[in-house]
């Protein structure tokens, strides 16, 4: 430990007492140490009174074994040794990024504006101050990763389903990894019993109001040190289709938006497949006017429809990916160049048909209607499965793929909950969002 240049050992002498302070300069608050640990020593008249003072410091825990002490130092605590007889560790951590920033991923129109911060203590504060019930329980734990990550599990003692809680804790205990866990998404992946599932079984959110709402519905929330995202479990399909604004706005407007989201989901999944199925298998499905106009616009395209669709979708995905990673100032340029110029040029060059551009735009935009990121990504991948099946089997294949998707989702279990269920849920199930 002494090899580290930020490790500080200070020796303080007063009267005939010698006090040693050990701490890491990089993560501890120097000013605070000076004020709370150094100054009182020189103000104290006897060694005992200083010892009593240190004892009174909040959060002070006395540990003895050297290993534990070392861990304390790493966590940002200062070790106080008085004459080799009394050892205490006092938290002196300088908090980083402790102020919550504005919500950026899940934007709400009329809801609370702030997201979580990256500091676990601040986040606990946020949740406690929003969820003012004595039944709210917080359990802090460390993940078995390397280095260990601190997490906090929140639940309402009176509402939570003990089986679900037990299941989640078991999943958390199961995690043992050599890689550090730094994000909620990573934790979610490690937690999930099915390693390669496409559909998220827990929800990742940056909104404290969503976490609190879910807690009040008896769900369990997990916050990870160092990330402004929290995990809410268990989550079912419907949870991924709701935005917080659904709860905040009028009944009919929120219903309308909900329906709009399902329409968007349907478009996103099936539009590209419909194009292939209708142009290559069942053109009689279309009106004759549209059939002829598609045929006309496809005339210069030399490739079969599914290659045309794949090409355009690939372009769209590249564009989306590029604009996510690019800095905001360049991002708009990229989308303009990509979206407008490429679209027009591709049609003029005879690579894709006019109708295709409309479809790709519709697919791309409808994907962003989904409020939760994970579901958005799942559906982005899912549409290629649909496209593949439709390319081989036509419209019938599309219908069967859709039925298959619904079967898969209904069959899926999530801590004893059906992932997708169409009708009223039974009493054991965590109550879903009550809008209004």
């Amino acid at each position: 430990m002494a090899e580290s240049s930020d490790f500080v050992i200070r020796q303080l002498d007063h009267h005939d007492t010698t006090v040693h302070l050990f701490y890491l300069k990089s993560i501890c608050d120097d000013l605070k140490i000076q004020r709370d640990l150094v100054l009182p020593l020189y103000q104290a008249d006897r060694a005992e009174s200083y010892e009593n003072y240190v004892r009174s410091l909040i959060n002070q825990k006395t540990s003895s074994s050297p290993g534990q002490l070392l861990e304390r130092v790493i966590k940002g605590e200062a070790i106080v040794c008085i004459e080799d007889t009394f050892i205490a560790n006092v938290p002196m951590k300088k908090p980083l990024n402790s102020s919550p920033g504005p919500a950026e991923v899940e934007v709400s129109v009329v809801g609370p504006k702030h997201a979580f911060s990256e500091e676990l203590d601040t986040n606990m504060n946020v949740i406690r101050s929003r969820y003012t019930e004595s039944s709210l329980t917080v359990e802090r734990a460390n993940l078995e990763s390397h280095p260990k990550t601190e997490i906090a599990i929140f639940y309402d003692r009176e509402l939570v389903d003990p089986e679900v809680l037990e299941g989640i804790k078991k999943d958390l205990k199961r995690i043992s990894d050599h890689i550090v866990i730094q994000a909620a998404g990573q934790l979610q992946r490690k937690m999930s019993p099915a390693r390669r599932t496409l559909f998220p079984t827990v929800m990742i959110t940056e909104r404290p109001d969503r976490v609190v709402l879910n807690l009040s519905q008896g769900k369990v929330a997990i916050l990870v040190q160092g990330t402004p995202f929290g995990i809410v479990a268990p989550a079912v399909f419907y949870d991924f289709m709701t935005a917080m604004d659904d709860v905040y706005s009028h009944y009919w407007t929120s219903r309308f938006l909900l329906v709009l989201r399902y329409i968007g989901l349907f478009f996103n999944l099936t539009m590209a497949s419909f194009y292939v199925g209708l142009t290559s298998y069942n053109p009689e499905f279309l009106r004759v006017q549209l059939a002829l106009s598609i045929a006309g616009s496809r005339a210069p395209v030399p490739y079969p429809s599914f290659i045309e669709v794949l090409f355009m979708l690939l372009m769209m995905e590249l564009l989306t990916e590029a604009s996510i990673r690019l800095p905001r100032t360049i991002g708009s340029t990229a989308t303009t160049v990509g979206g407008l110029i490429l679209g027009t040029a591709a049609t003029q060059a005879g690579l894709v048909s006019n109708i295709m551009i409309i479809i790709v735009a519709c697919v791309a935009i409808s994907n962003f209607v989904l409020p939760i990121n994970e579901m958005m990504f799942s559906m982005r991948v899912m549409k290629y499965v649909f496209l593949g099946i439709t390319t081989i089997f036509g419209i019938m294949g599309l219908v069967i793929a859709f039925i298959g998707l619904i079967v898969h989702l209904t069959r899926k279990q999530n801590y004893g909950r059906a992932y997708l269920r169409f009708f009223a849920e039974n009493g054991k199930v965590v109550p879903r969002k009550e809008a209004g």
């Binding site: 298998y281 053109p283 004759v288 106009s293 045929a295 005339a299 079969p304 429809s305």
Partner: protein, 368 residues
């Protein structure tokens, strides 16, 4: 285990791809047959002249972009003709959008409609909601029209028959499934709207050919077509001319619905027609008074009664039954169907017709 499952999935997928019903064929590799006509062949040894109208798609549809080609073939059977036509074009024929079937007038007069229609009904990819019509002078010349107002080839026929564009009581539309039904059903005889080419790439559709189970028996003029249509489709936008003193007035009806009853009155079978007409006066040669609407209603009823009676008597004389009196009779009389039918065939020429029109005028068509 995992590899095995993947293998099974892959095999299924491969096997499935071999099954893929109608097969992958891009829309630009297909020729859409939008209309088809059957005429008697000019050749001695052949029965039919089959013509298909193939739409040539244009990337930007506008008025006048109705490009098409006609391909004809003389054969004995329609199926054969279509196969030969396939060898004459470079793309796959797609009959999924065949929405108009025009049968040449000569062929309708010659008869044997059941045989002609058999292929159209049996063929799986022809939609049964295709419209059937008789073409004058012949089917091919109806197909070979290029009205400058069309956006797609044959769209004029679709718009007229579908009543999507023009809405008029003079156009009777007949679906393929209904035509087939009428060809087979006892007590309901087939009809065919007549499409007439009237020069300058235009058509007129305002007559109806009435058929017995085999061939054409009667052609209704536009006025009778209108009366018939009220029993057939019950269409709005209907005009009725009523004679009055020296002049006339015209009722524009929003809704005309004809119904009928069959009763046995003192041992005689009586069919009572009950046309219901709601409308306003649209044109008049002499001043019309609002207070006398009831009087005009009576006048109109009298006139309609005469005309309708005339119309059904003509049907009775020709011994055809496109309105379905026989079907109603069969439905209401239990017993051995063959006996009931035989009895109706004997009864029909003797049936007495009565007309009880009900006219309601809501306005004189003027303010105040």
């Amino acid at each position: 285990m995992k590899g095995k499952r993947l293998l099974v999935l892959l095999t299924l997928l491969l096997a499935g791809s071999a099954l893929g019903g109608c097969g992958f064929k891009d829309i630009d590799k297909r020729f859409f047959v939008v209309a088809m006509s059957v005429d008697p062949s000019g050749k001695e040894d052949k029965k039919y002249l089959v013509t298909v109208k193939l739409a040539i798609p244009s990337p930007s549809e506008k008025f006048g972009s109705n490009q098409y080609t006609l391909v004809s073939e003389d054969t004995d059977s329609i199926a054969q003709a279509v196969r030969i036509i396939k060898s004459k074009v470079d793309k796959e024929l797609d009959l999924g959008h065949l929405k108009a079937i025009v049968i040449g007038r000569e062929l309708v007069e010659k008869g044997n409609m059941d045989e002609v229609m058999d292929w159209f009904v049996r063929r799986r990819d022809i939609q049964n909601i295709a419209w059937v019509a008789a073409g004058v002078p012949d089917g091919r010349s109806i197909l070979d029209l290029r009205p400058p107002t069309e956006r797609l080839p044959s769209n004029m026929l679709f718009m007229s028959f579908g009543q999507v564009g023009t809405e008029t009581a003079y156009i009777v539309s007949e679906y393929l499934f209904d035509f087939r039904r009428r060809l087979r059903e006892r007590g309901l005889d087939p009809i065919l709207p007549i499409v007439e080419s009237r020069g300058d790439q235009q058509v007129a559709i305002n007559k109806v050919a009435l058929l017995d189970k085999n061939k054409m028996r009667l052609v209704l003029d536009p006025l009778d077509t209108k009366i018939f249509n009220s029993f057939y489709q019950g269409i709005g936008k209907y005009d009725i001319q009523i004679r009055q003193d020296q002049g006339y007035f015209i009722i524009s009806a929003d809704n005309v619905k004809g119904s009928f009853t069959i009763e046995n009155v003192q041992g005689k079978t009586v069919i009572t027609l009950k046309p219901h007409i709601h409308g306003i006066i649209e044109e008049a040669t002499s001043p019309i008074s609002k207070t006398e609407l009831a009087k005009y209603e009576r006048q109109a009823e009298q006139e309609i009664k005469e005309r309708a009676l005339q119309f059904v008597k003509r049907l009775q004389q020709a011994n055809i039954d496109p309105i379905g009196f026989g079907l109603r009779y069969r439905a209401r009389h239990p017993g051995n169907p063959d006996h009931v039918w035989k009895k109706w065939v004997e009864l029909y020429p003797e049936v007495e017709f009565r007309v009880q029109p009900h006219v309601r005028l809501t306005s004189t068509g003027q303010l105040g």
